[in-house]
């Protein structure tokens, strides 16, 4: 029994990262109908920003304690990563949108931006891996044979909190209503006097900011950083978002955890070689049965 509970906790932690990243995908897709393939790499940039922020604050210049560093690093990392996301939007996506480029070209641009982020990191920092410092003093609780660390609890709660906050913003606030409006009809929205560019920038701030948070928490949980760490996890989170129903916040959240549970479950029962095979076969079957994803709505094209 404790074996199963232990694996549920493992899956909850792993799924939290998928959920956090999938939320960023779904947010940008929901508003812009743009698959931001650079999102996984923004997550990677977030982890590196967290590394430098933490290194600076722990360093001789400031010499803060690890706990204070953690508390300050969270908003700072989110802010700086959001800046990176907004820069991408300004440099890459907005000019294309202004010119009315087809969605395909924007997706290709996003892929290129991701590669540029990866390889500029490789060029600047080199291939050597970095070790993330320990910010939260790790406590291991042993509850009847099940071990939980405080870090795992923080990660799981962060994922839930981010989901609740985003859900609130999108469904209950005015700016959320504007976001949904752009998603519905981006040509009519400016006629209502809603500043479409500002809303899109806000979307990128939210999505990238939470990718930065995910990067920080990931670096704390798996403290070995490398330039390509965001690629695979980004793609998987994107698939999780699609299975959940891309464009829907709940879909990304549940899709992320679903993938985490399937992956950990497969490894527990089968050799790890089958992990991705089984995980993505299951997801494929879900899409067969419900092509719009678990929470997605079918879209009709207006003429």
């Amino acid at each position: 029994m404790d074996f199963i509970i232990q694996n549920i906790i493992n899956a909850l932690q792993w799924g939290s990262f998928y959920a956090l990243i999938a939320l960023g995908y779904t947010l940008v897709y929901g508003v812009l109908r743009l698959i931001n393939f650079a999102h996984g790499d923004i997550f990677m940039v977030g982890a590196y920003i967290a590394f430098f922020v933490a290194g600076f604050m722990l360093g001789p210049a400031l010499g803060l304690s690890p706990m204070v560093t953690f508390l300050l690093a969270v908003p700072l990392t989110m802010f700086l990563t959001a800046c990176v996301g907004v820069t991408l939007e300004r440099v890459a996506y907005r000019p294309l949108r202004r010119k009315g480029a087809h969605r395909l070209y924007v997706v290709i641009t996003a892929l290129m931006c991701g590669l540029i982020l990866e390889y500029s990191n490789l060029a600047v920092l080199g291939a050597s891996r970095l070790k993330f410092p320990e910010l939260v003093h790790k406590t291991i609780w042993d509850i009847g044979g099940v071990t939980v660390t405080n870090l795992k609890v923080i990660v799981i709660f962060a994922a839930i909190a981010v989901f609740v906050i985003l859900n609130f913003i999108v469904t209950k606030t005015k700016i959320g209503m504007a976001m949904r409006g752009i998603s519905y009809d981006k040509f009519a929205i400016p006629l209502m006097g809603i500043p479409i560019d500002q809303i899109i920038v806000f979307t990128f701030i939210l999505g990238s900011g939470f990718a930065g948070l995910a990067g920080l928490l990931f670096a704390m949980s798996y403290p070995v950083l490398e330039p390509f760490m965001g690629m695979l996890i980004g793609w998987k989170a994107f698939i999780a978002a699609v299975v959940g129903g891309i464009g829907d916040i709940r879909g990304a959240f549940y899709g992320g955890f679903l993938l985490g549970f399937i992956e950990v479950g497969v490894v527990t029962v089968f050799p790890s070689t089958y992990r991705d095979l089984f995980a993505f076969t299951i997801l494929l079957i879900i899409l067969w049965m419900k092509p719009t994803g678990l929470f997605g709505m079918p879209q009709s094209t207006k003429i």
Binding site: F3, Q6, N7, N10, A11, Q13, W14, L122, G126, A127, S128, R129, K131, K138, I140, D142, T147, T149, L151, K152, Y222, P223, V224, E226, M229, L232, I233, E263, V264, G265, V267, T268, P271, S272, T273, R275, D276
Partner: protein
């Protein structure tokens, strides 16, 4: 008229350029050696350390006026090619070195994951290859053109098993390995066979993971549930750092036993205190070295400011082997194809070699028979000599 002048100028330029490109091919007084190294990718430290050792060797030879073969001095030229720590890129790098760079021999790749496929390519293209660090038997098996400087996993696996059963008094073992890495998978299987042959107790868990995995908690939960006396982890240092930490988080208190892929200063940088007190088998121990080994270590430390890891020392020995092979050949042929044949025969003629990672004899397969050492990671994060095991 103006146009034709322009054209003549271009043509002249093209002539000069092509002449410049042809010249090195005619220059017979250099010997060009290729290096197939993981300068980026999963294990960049390994490529970097090998390259540093090679640069040191190159400087030694060329500053002394070159390498003397058959009464004439030849300058060495090293070409470094990045294989991105990937199997397919290692094959491409080997082909590029052979076909475009026209090297007479290749040193590397280091890791078996790259050395096994690249060895096949070199053997098919009849180019001698020496792998410094690969321990998988398949690298040289039935490949007369491929040689190595390291001991083999069929030797290393039992060393690890014997040591763990003695040191930890272990009766049961668990293994966690990288299923997509030839080195890790091969060694894990050899270890399992060696452990079960001892008849102490079973291998209670035999779990695998993928190269890009970062979360091992599901596998480790299964391992910990099986309650082994120790966990054998034949993995690269970057994964070890994550595995050890996650095992401790899941409440595992027992020891770990590692293999030679642990032996990188980066292990301590990434893993920190959590790796202290564990053991791994490797090719040499830098702490407490004597003789030529100490000279090498001191020079490396003075030049680069860090202790050379085993792959750096083995790269040094590989170059030494190659140099001896070239000298055994007795002459240098300006045709790279003929020169490769000469070097291969020269290498095959080496019966024993006294390198900085120890003395070795060569068997019929071209594999060295040499001693292994077991190293302890001390509380200062140093690799301290614990035990030497000879075949």
């Amino acid at each position: 008229m103006k146009l034709s002048l322009h054209k003549t100028g271009l043509l002249a330029l093209a002539f000069v350029l092509s002449f410049l490109m042809i010249v090195p091919a005619f220059a017979a007084d250099t010997i060009k050696i290729g290096f197939n190294l993981p300068l980026t990718g999963d294990i960049p430290e390994v490529g970097d350390g090998s390259k540093k050792a090679a640069e040191m060797y190159l400087k030694d030879i060329n500053d002394a006026g070159g390498l003397e073969v058959g009464g004439k001095k030849y300058q060495l030229e090293f070409v470094y090619m990045d294989n991105e720590s990937k199997a397919e890129s290692a094959v491409n790098a080997a082909l590029k070195l052979i076909e475009q760079e026209n090297v007479v021999a290749i040193i590397g790749p280091n890791s078996s994951k790259q050395a096994v496929p690249a060895g096949g390519t070199c053997n098919d293209n009849r180019c001698p290859m020496i792998t410094p660090w690969s321990t998988n038997p398949d690298t040289t098996k039935d490949r007369p053109w491929v040689f190595r400087a390291a001991f083999l996993d069929p030797f290393q696996g039992p060393v690890a098993a014997d040591f763990a059963s003695e040191k930890f008094g272990a009766k049961t073992a668990a293994v966690l390995f990288d299923v997509s890495n030839d080195y890790s998978k091969g060694l894990a299987e050899i270890f399992k066979a060696a452990w079960e042959k001892k008849g102490l107790g079973p291998v209670v868990a035999f779990e695998s993971h993928g190269t890009k995995d970062q979360d091992f908690s599901a596998q480790l939960t299964t391992i910990i549930k099986a309650n082994p006396d120790f966990i054998f982890v034949p993995d690269n240092y970057n994964q070890v750092a994550l595995i050890v930490q996650q095992a401790r988080d899941l409440g595992y208190q027992g020891p770990f036993m590692g293999s030679d892929a642990w032996g990188t200063p980066d292990l301590i940088k990434l893993c920190g205190e959590q790796c202290y007190g564990n053991y791994f088998s490797t090719h040499y121990a830098a702490a407490g070295a004597t003789g030529a080994t100490k000279v090498f270590i001191d020079r490396y430390e003075k030049t680069y400011g860090s202790t050379p890891a085993d792959y750096a020392a083995l790269t040094w020995d590989s170059i030494g082997l190659l140099v001896q092979g070239i000298q055994n050949a007795g002459k240098v042929d300006s045709n790279p194809r003929k020169e490769r044949q000469l070097i291969r025969d020269g290498l095959a003629a080496i019966k024993s070699f006294d390198g900085i990672t120890g003395k070795s004899k060569f068997d019929a397969q071209g594999d060295p028979i040499k001693c292994a050492v077991v190293v302890k990671i001390s509380d200062q994060g140093e690799f301290v000599f614990e035990q030497s095991v000879c075949p």
